[in-house]
């Protein structure tokens, strides 16, 4: 099993436990970014992009124990 530290940006935090913006998730070895999103229950259409250890990641990228994942919603600013 691997443990991933994830941060949800914008209003995506509503999909995290307790509505917090940071949480750790435990997944089976070999899990990918898309598996993490499924485990969280975060709809793909709400996600603009994901970074792993500060580098943009594709949905199929494999995650490793201790990875830091940021999940971003589309942003407009203002």
């Amino acid at each position: 099993m691997i443990t991933i530290s994830a941060r949800a940006h914008g209003n995506l935090r509503r999909h995290f436990p307790g509505g917090r913006d940071e949480a750790d998730f435990t997944l089976p070895d070999g899990s990918r970014v898309v598996d993490l999103l499924k485990a969280i229950g975060m709809p793909d259409v709400e996600v603009w992009m994901v970074s792993v250890n500060d580098l943009l990641a594709k949905p199929e990228q494999i995650l490793f124990d201790g990875d830091r994942v940021n999940i971003f919603a589309p942003v407009a600013g203002g």
Partner: protein, 658 residues
């Protein structure tokens, strides 16, 4: 007079000290809705072409929308406009806060201010009355002190104050107008037009209740939206817009070092999360809104390198990026201090940051030297120099005097080598959104009636994965952020038309009212059997009035262009090397013109489009085309139209003297 409106517009002639009231008919409100629509109507109808934006012939117009002050989230919005001292074209800006609803409670939907006072004055509007009062003692004071002084003088802490600030007094071309000290009508330099009139402030207080045809339904909708916000917008409440810094940085579209780069190595140091955990001491809100997206930061004496006054709120995303990454500054305290000074002197933080970033790039390229900067080492990243430059711009001291003209004029004075560093569209500095990441937004910058603007624009990243919110506009398919095909242009056209609409109605884009809900809300307030079509046409009407204004001022299609920098590759970040195709950008602009019913080459509105929008009279404001000028006799159509020109939509009813 429809419900939701007072039915009264105040007109103030500062030269003569005369005050009068006009009562437009219901059709006027229905056609223009208030805000931008109202301002565009009056500026086009009443300004002579070519007037000096800083002269007495310019007019400053405060305008609420029909929904401003309704008991629902997002209704604090209202507008102020004038011929822009920054762009020389149509200018207006919107803000939230409490001033707009209070102006309505005082009995007026709008205030038209003309002429120039001999000495500093402020306008006091209260319960259907208005008077001009001496403001000599307020001149030169910072914004919070001005508000406190006016409240003390009039003996009412509930008074709401809109003001131009020291920046406006000194005619800084990007001086803005603030209300309640921390809400900003940011763009276009309207504060300079106000200061040039010797008008320090407008103070409002009233006790009239907002009236709706179906008040219960309006309340229900307000309660439902508040519940939605409470349940779903916690992230927005927590960080406001400031969390955008790291998101855009990760995507490679964070404006950095004067738009040279798209990623900033110091992004995390100036991001909203860092600010929340260090300097944030509170969150502020606007009228009737539960989001609380406004920031409040503070550093008391002895706590840090700068004292930061919480009375001036705190930076939101645009200020964080403009004063931070755009200047290469990762010192959050310095960024917050610079933001506090912008707010205290009532300067547009976007244009201020952009002006300093421009100067920094000129300095690093030898166009400016220490001789010009008064000894400041004006390299990217120097937070101390940033803070000093904001002071100097507000007071027009040294290099600050040149930068106070805006980057376009400053570059003209510094010579051709500086022009490539002047990042603006039609004189207005770009907001903090990278056109090489959001390419439709880049086209939106070029066709905006006010110069580069992100609020009446699209943000392409919103349509990459889903388009549910815009399906009622006939936009059914997702599209890449870099797409510049006709489907993107259609999205730009239809979404932007309705952005003009909410800027007229007085609704905030941060509150997620769907298009259907906007229609229902307007119906519940006014009783009008309205539709999304009618709302969209109102936005298009405002856009066309502003376009005619700009064409009349000689701001032709050649001015509707992005700076050369965006046709070159981004310097770093996740989309490093990405550039916009000039050919595709020109084609998209022409496509937008055509979809608007404008000439594909010149961007001139067609008479048929103006006819369709019910603003036939605006055609007479357009300069003659070459073909028209060559014609010996006026065309039959023109002669016929002149005879049947509609009557002025407003009538003067009573007049009183201050």
């Amino acid at each position: 007079m429809p419900n939701g409106s007072c039915g009264q517009i105040l007109r103030v002639d500062l030269t003569r000290g005369a005050i009068s009231v006009e009562t437009p008919d219901e059709n006027f409100y229905r056609a223009h809705l208030g805000g931008r629509g109202l301002i565009a109507h009056y500026l086009l109808k009443e300004l002579k072409p070519g007037v000096d934006p800083l002269g007495p012939e310019n007019k400053v117009i405060f305008a609420t929308g029909v929904l401003t002050g309704a008991p629902v989230a997002g209704s604090g919005r209202n507008s102020v406009g004038a011929k822009s001292p920054l762009s020389g074209g149509y200018g207006d800006a919107e803000a939230g806060g409490f001033f707009g609803p209070e102006l309505k409670r005082a009995g007026f939907d709008a205030v038209i201010i003309e002429g120039r006072a001999k000495r500093p004055v402020y306008l006091w509007v209260h319960d259907g009355q208005a008077e001009l009062r001496d403001a000599a003692g307020l001149w030169g004071k910072k914004a919070y002190d001005v508000e406190q002084a006016i409240r003390a003088e009039l003996g009412d802490k509930g008074i709401r104050v809109a003001q131009c600030g020291v920046g406006g007094e000194n005619k800084v071309r990007f001086a803005c107008v603030s209300n309640d000290v921390t809400h900003f009508y940011g763009r276009g330099g309207i504060g300079a037009a106000m200061g040039a009139k010797n008008l320090k402030a407008v103070a409002a207080r009233g006790h009239a209740q907002y009236a709706s045809v179906n008040a219960e339904r309006v309340k229900e909708m307000g309660r439902a939206m508040t519940q939605h916000i409470t349940e779903n917008e916690k992230g927005f409440t927590d960080l406001g817009t400031t969390g955008t810094v790291v998101a855009l940085d990760a995507g490679g579209g964070l404006p950095t070092r004067n738009f040279r780069d798209g990623s900033f190595e110091g992004a995390k140091k100036i991001d909203g999360t860092t600010m929340r955990d260090t300097l944030l001491v509170g969150r502020d809100s606007c009228f009737a809104c539960a989001i609380h997206c406004k920031r409040v930061v503070e550093r008391k004496p002895g706590e840090g390198r700068y004292v930061i006054d919480r009375n001036y709120g705190g930076p939101e995303y645009e200020a964080l990026a403009a004063l931070g990454s755009l200047c290469g500054v990762d010192d959050l305290e310095a960024v917050c201090k610079a933001s506090e000074l912008c707010n205290a002197y009532v300067l547009d933080a976007i244009s201020t940051g952009a002006a300093v970033a421009f100067a920094m790039e000129c300095y690093e390229n030898g166009i400016l030297t220490k001789k010009d900067t008064g000894g400041l080492d004006l390299r990217f990243g120097n937070g101390q120099a940033l803070v000093q430059m904001v002071e100097d711009i507000a007071h027009r001291r040294g290099l600050g005097d040149l930068l106070a003209e805006g980057v376009a004029r400053a570059a003209e004075k510094l010579g051709p080598k500086a022009r490539r560093f002047a990042i603006h569209v039609r004189g207005q500095e770009l907001p903090m959104h990278e056109p090489r990441m959001k390419m439709g937004l880049g086209i939106g910058y070029t066709i905006s009636p006010t110069g580069a603007d992100h609020c009446h624009n699209i943000h392409d990243t919103m349509f990459v994965k889903r388009v549910e919110s815009v399906k009622p506009l006939g936009i059914l398919e997702t599209m890449p952020a870099t797409d510049l095909s006709p489907r993107k242009v259609k999205t730009l056209k239809r979404v932007t038309d309705l952005r003009h609409t909410i800027n007229s109605l007085g609704l905030c884009q941060f509150v997620s009212w769907s298009y259907d809900q906007q229609v229902e809300l307007l119906h519940a307030v006014t009783g009008w059997s309205t539709s999304l079509l009618e709302l969209s046409l109102a936005g298009e009407r405002a856009a066309n009035l502003a376009r005619v204004f700009n064409v009349r001022e000689g701001l032709a299609a050649a001015n509707d262009r992005l700076p050369d920098r965006f046709f070159q590759g981004l310097g770093n970040g996740a989309i490093a090397g990405t550039k916009i195709s000039r050919k595709l950008a020109d084609a998209a602009k022409g496509e937008y013109y055509a979809m608007m019913g404008w000439d594909r080459e010149t961007g001139r509105p067609s008479e048929a489009k103006l006819d369709e929008l019910g603003i036939e009279w605006a055609a007479a404001q357009l300069p003659k085309t070459k073909a028209q000028a060559k014609a010996k006799a006026p065309a039959k159509r023109t002669a016929a139209k002149a005879k049947s020109a509609p009557r002025r939509a407003t009538r003067s009813t009573r007049r009183k003297t201050a």
